[in-house]
Amino acid sequence: MTIIQAIILGVLFCFCRMGILYTWPKNIPLFGALLIGIVLGDVPQAMIIGAAIQAIYMGVIQPGGNIPTDQVLATFIAVPIALQSNLEPAVAVTLAVPVGLLGVLLDYIRRTVNAAWIHMADSYAEKGNTNGIMRAHFLYPTLALIGIYIIPVAIAIYLGPNAVNAFMEIVPDWIMTGLQVAGGILPALGFAITISVIGKGNVIPYFLFGFFLFQYASQVNTIAFALFGMFLAFLHITFTKNKTEEAGAL
């Protein structure tokens, strides 16, 4: 890992995490892993590790902009370290879990700092200064990210492998096992969040149906399941047609 690579990764992390291009999936482990793989010259291995990390964040969405855990930071710290130190994907996941939590802290800092720009915008509005308001939205939050995101993350990526290797030697086995177990349970949180956002009571049985269907028919591929799901959705609206029309979206 050269300093240049660490800085490039810091900038790419910032791009993925800064909240531009709204729904575009740049803030997921799969996309981050692709970028990291390109920078560090090992795309296939980066994707394999990225897939393991993606698995624990499958259902994670951010209702109201609050992230439960930062999958982007987890990816940008864990994947380069795993690549440099030839770690197994499962071990990379154990790194990702605590780092993801730390990422929430970074997000807190960012959104606290951002409160400053809206106060500037208030005073620009008093003067009718539209350019000032646009600078307060487009420019200042972006500049602040050099200090909040790029520098700390570049340093962490640069120093990471040594620190992690030193840490791995002293940490007891049960902690590693415990973190791996957590990596297995955590996807549940993402799915639980998603269900609580999209699930009105009468569609929850479809969750259970999908869950147990997969337990008994896990060799069927996901695309086939998606088609099956569309068929179910079609049946559901066909048989509840009058009800949904009356209910209204609001």
């Binding site: 531009i20 709204y22 740049k26 409160a115 949180l189 998603t194 997969f214 399941f225």
Partner: protein, 272 residues
Amino acid sequence: MEQKEKLLTKKDIRRSWMYWLGTCELSNSFERLQTLAFAACLAPIFKKLYKDDEELKLALKRHLTFFNTEGIWGSLIHGIVIAMEEERARGEDISDEMITGLKTGFMGPLAGIGDTVDWGTIRPIVIGLFLPLASAGSWIAGLGPFVIVSLITSSISYYLWHLGYRVGRKSILQVLKDGRINQFITASSVLGMFMMGILSSQYVKISLKPEIVVNNETTTIQSYVDQILPGLLPVTAVFIMYYLIRYRKVKYTNILLGVLAISLLGALIGLF
């Protein structure tokens, strides 16, 4: 009725949409969330509409009050607000309260729809479809979701933004109460739920390690659980967390810390 003169061009509308889609979360702050993004992305429009300085100041201040929605489906609000501001600039009787009321009235429901359709359904399903490719080391899995999800959600947003502008505030209720939109949302939550089930089944993993001796044979407790109902522990975990979030309003971070604590403790005593 005479044809009303348009003060804004198609380009103005499209440019503000691009600003919004590109940066609606950029200046997100704990204090007023997407407020600054809303005001800044529409600022060029206000500047064009209100030649009078006092009116411009009023417009800017009006849109620096609280705003937060799901950016894609919330686009409908922006379209309507632009139409209302245009009417106001033309001298129609449109008050501050009407505009602010419309924004605050619709940002919640549209956020609900957007979270369901975009974040809860489209994104996880598409990512789920590409995950096996990623596990096989393919770069396509990095790019695939990026291209597909971006295209779908941007198109929805573009359509709703322009729809809002075209129909204006009078028709918004009709649009939202239209049976087809409802059916679409219900259908996507059914599909989303079903796929969440499939994906949880695939990715949530909990198994118990302790062994017991039955009829002189050593087996794990896990194999007994599997005989009763495969996946019993993972599905229980999902629903315990669902219960905590939905009915106990527990913070995500606390659940996450709880999972870590239980996992570490379980590993220490040899449960997992």
